[in-house]
C-alpha cells in the first residue's frame, strides 16, 4: 500500500461521484478501467445522458422563431442553459455566452472576427510558447491573411512563462494576446491576472484558452476582467461537439460576425444584410441544441459538487501523483511548474512514450502519449512527445497507484 497524504478537504465523496459515471464501471482487457486521459475528454455523468434523452424524447424541435409548443420548450431549455453557463463563469449577461463547437471553434471565431475588424498589416498578435495548436494555427492563418505577425511569449525549462520577456513584448503594435490559462501538455497554471493587468494597461484585449481551466478551478470572468474566454463542453463532463465562447459585450458588439446564415441575421436581402443582436449574431445555423442543453446540466453537476471542492481534491491528486511518480527510477517530468493543475507529463529513461502507453493500455490504464497538439512545446524540450496522465473529479488515489505500478511493470518489460 502506498502512503496516502492527509486529505485536508474531504468535501467530496469520490466513491459516490464515480457511481454517477457509467463508463467508469467498464472493464478494459478484463481490468477495471483507470481513465487518466481527462485532458483529452472527460467521461459524462448519468444526468448529462438523461438530459440528452429527455430532450430527444420530450421536446426535440428547432429553436427560435417557432410558434409551436415543442419549439417553445426547446428554446426555453436552450436559453436556460445559456443562463446557467453565464452564471457559472459569472458573465454580466447571458448574451455574452456564445455556444460553439468547442475551444477550437471559439478561437477560430475570435481570430477571424478580430482579424477582420481590428488587425492591420504590421500589427502583432501575442501567444505563448505553451499553446495548444488550436491557439496557434488560427492566429497564424489570420496573421497571414492580414499581414500581421504572431510573436511568442517564451517559457523556461520548468514550463513557466518568462514574464519579463512578456512585458518587453508589449509594444503598441500588439493588438491582442491569446494565452492558455492552463497548459494541456505541462499542467502549468499561468499568471493570467498579471498578463491581463499588463495588457489592459496598454488597452490590449486578452483571450484566455480555458479548455483546461474551467473544470479544475473557479473561473470568474468579471473578476479576471478577461475580454474573451473559451472552453470545450466535452472536457467539463458535457457532450462532444459543444463549447463556449465568452466575450465582453462591448467586444462582441464591435466585432464583425464570423459565420453567416440562419439566426445570425435580422433581415436579409440580396443587396444588404443586417446582423442580429447578441448572442445570435455569432450563432449561425441550427445550433447543437441537445448538446448545449446537456452542457448546462454538466455545468450544474459541477456546481453541485462545487468547483472549489473539485479543485481541492484534484490538487491533492496532482501532489500525490508527482510524489509517487518521482519514485520511479529514470522518470523525468516534462514541466515542473510551481503552480500545476490537472495533468502530469513525463518520460522514463529513453523509453518511447508510445511504447509505455501501449503497455499501460493493456493493463487497463488509459493515458495519452504524443505531442498533445503542442508540438512547439515538444520542440522546446527536444522530445518527440510525453506520457501524460490527467485527472478529473472522479480520479482516485488508487488510480494513481495503478498507474505507478503499471509504469513499473511496463518499464521492466521495455528495458
Amino acid at each position: 500500500m502506498q502512503h496516502v497524504p492527509d486529505i485536508t478537504v474531504p468535501a467530496l465523496d469520490v466513491e459516490k461521484i464515480r457511481k454517477d459515471f457509467p463508463l467508469l464501471q467498464e472493464k478494459v482487457y478484463g481490468q477495471p478501467l483507470v481513465y487518466l486521459d481527462n485532458a483529452a475528454t472527460t467521461q459524462k455523468p448519468q444526468v448529462v445522458l438523461d438530459t440528452l434523452i429527455e430532450y430527444y424524447t420530450r421536446i426535440n424541435s428547432n429553436v427560435h422563431r417557432g410558434v409551436h409548443h415543442l419549439s417553445q420548450e426547446a428554446t426555453n431549455a436552450y436559453e436556460n442553459s445559456r443562463k446557467i453557463i453565464a452564471s457559472f463563469i459569472n458573465a454580466r449577461k447571458p448574451e455574452e455566452v456564445i455556444f460553439t463547437k468547442g475551444t477550437t471553434d471559439g478561437i477560430n471565431l475570435i481570430a477571424y472576427s478580430f482579424g477582420r475588424g481590428e488587425i492591420k498589416p504590421g500589427d502583432v498578435v501575442l501567444a505563448s510558447a505553451m499553446e495548444h495548436h488550436s491557439n496557434i494555427v488560427p492566429w497564424q492563418m489570420m496573421c497571414e491573411d492580414r499581414g500581421a505577425e504572431l510573436k511568442i511569449i517564451p517559457m523556461d525549462e520548468k514550463g513557466e512563462l518568462l514574464m519579463d520577456e512578456f512585458s518587453a513584448l508589449l509594444t503598441d503594435k500588439v493588438k491582442i494576446i491569446a494565452v492558455t490559462y492552463v497548459s494541456n501538455s505541462l499542467g502549468t497554471v499561468n499568471p493570467v491576472r498579471d498578463i491581463i493587468a499588463q495588457a489592459h494597461a496598454r488597452n490590449i484585449p486578452v483571450l484566455l484558452d480555458a479548455a483546461q481551466a474551467v473544470q479544475h478551478m473557479p473561473v470568474d470572468v468579471q473578476e479576471l476582467d478577461v475580454d474573451f474566454l473559451v472552453f470545450s463542453g466535452h472536457k467539463i463532463y458535457g457532450p462532444t461537439g459543444t463549447g463556449v465562447l465568452y466575450g465582453k459585450e462591448e467586444w462582441l458588439d464591435r466585432l464583425p460576425p464570423y459565420q453567416g446564415g440562419g439566426d445570425m441575421i435580422k433581415t436579409v436581402t440580396f443587396a444588404k444584410t443586417i446582423y442580429n443582436v447578441l448572442p445570435y449574431k455569432f450563432e449561425a445555423g441550427t445550433p447543437d441544441i441537445s448538446g448545449a442543453i446537456a452542457l448546462g446540466t454538466a455545468v450544474q453537476y459541477v456546481q453541485q459538487i462545487g468547483v472549489e471542492n473539485i479543485q481541492a481534491w484534484e490538487e491533492q491528486l496532482v501532489e500525490y501523483a508527482v510524489q509517487q511518480l518521482q519514485q520511479i527510477e529514470g522518470i523525468r517530468f516534462i514541466g515542473n511548474p510551481r503552480h500545476r493543475s490537472g495533468a502530469v507529463s513525463f518520460l522514463v529513461y529513453d523509453i518511447h512514450p508510445y511504447d509505455l502507453g501501449e503497455l499501460l493500455d493493456k493493463q487497463g490504464i488509459a493515458i495519452r502519449t504524443g505531442h498533445h497538439c503542442a508540438e512547439p512545446v515538444m520542440d522546446f524540450f527536444c522530445i518527440p512527445g510525453t506520457v501524460r496522465a490527467s485527472f478529473a473529479v472522479y480520479t482516485t488515489f488508487e488510480d494513481i497507484d495503478r498507474l505507478v505500478a503499471g509504469i513499473k511493470k511496463a518499464v521492466s518489460m521495455l528495458r
Binding site: 518511447h352 508510445y354 501501449e358 493500455d361 493493456k362 518489460m413
Partner: protein, 148 residues
C-alpha cells in the same frame, strides 16, 4: 521456410501466450534480436510514412533474394518490424510480391494494437511489397534487355 511457413510458425508461437502482456514480452524480445540497420541508412528516405514512431527500413539484394534490416525508436515497433523482417527476409522479390499475408490478423495484431500502430504495420507491409515489386520489375526489364 517459405513465407507461408514463416507465418504459420509465428502464429503458432503466439498462440501459446495467454494474454497480451505475454505477447508483448515476446514482441519486445524479437525486437531486441532484430538485425540492426546500418546507421548510414537511418536517413529520411529510409523512413516509413504513417508510423507514429520512426521506422527505418533498408533493403538489399543478395543472391537473388531480398534481405531487410530495420530499426525504430520505439521498442514495440521494433518488435513488429522484426516480425515483418522474419517473414519476408531471404525470399525472392517474386515470392514476396505474390505472397498472401495473414499472420497480422491471425495473431490479432490488427485488433489489439493501437490504430496508429497497426496503420504503421500496414504501411510497412505496403513498403516491403512495393520494394519487391520494384525489384521484380527491374529484373524483368534487365532480362528483357539481354534478350533483345
Amino acid at each position: 521456410m517459405t513465407i507461408k511457413e514463416q507465418q504459420d510458425e509465428l502464429i503458432s508461437d503466439f498462440s501459446f501466450m495467454e494474454n497480451w502482456m505475454d505477447k508483448y514480452e515476446h514482441i519486445i524480445q524479437l525486437g531486441k534480436e532484430l538485425p540492426l540497420i546500418d546507421d548510414k541508412y537511418k536517413t529520411p528516405d529510409h523512413l516509413i510514412k504513417g508510423c507514429q514512431s520512426q521506422v527505418w527500413l533498408h533493403t538489399e539484394m543478395q543472391d537473388g533474394k531480398l534481405v531487410f534490416t530495420a530499426d525504430s525508436d520505439a521498442v514495440i515497433t521494433k518488435g513488429l518490424v522484426s516480425l515483418m523482417v522474419t517473414v519476408f527476409s531471404g525470399h525472392t522479390p517474386k515470392e514476396i510480391a505474390e505472397s498472401e499475408i495473414y499472420f497480422i490478423d491471425a495473431i490479432g495484431l490488427s485488433n489489439h494494437l493501437s490504430p496508429t500502430r497497426s496503420n504503421g504495420l500496414l504501411s510497412m507491409l505496403k513498403q516491403i511489397k512495393l520494394y519487391a515489386v520494384a525489384y521484380e520489375a527491374k529484373s524483368q526489364s534487365q532480362k528483357n534487355g539481354t534478350e533483345l
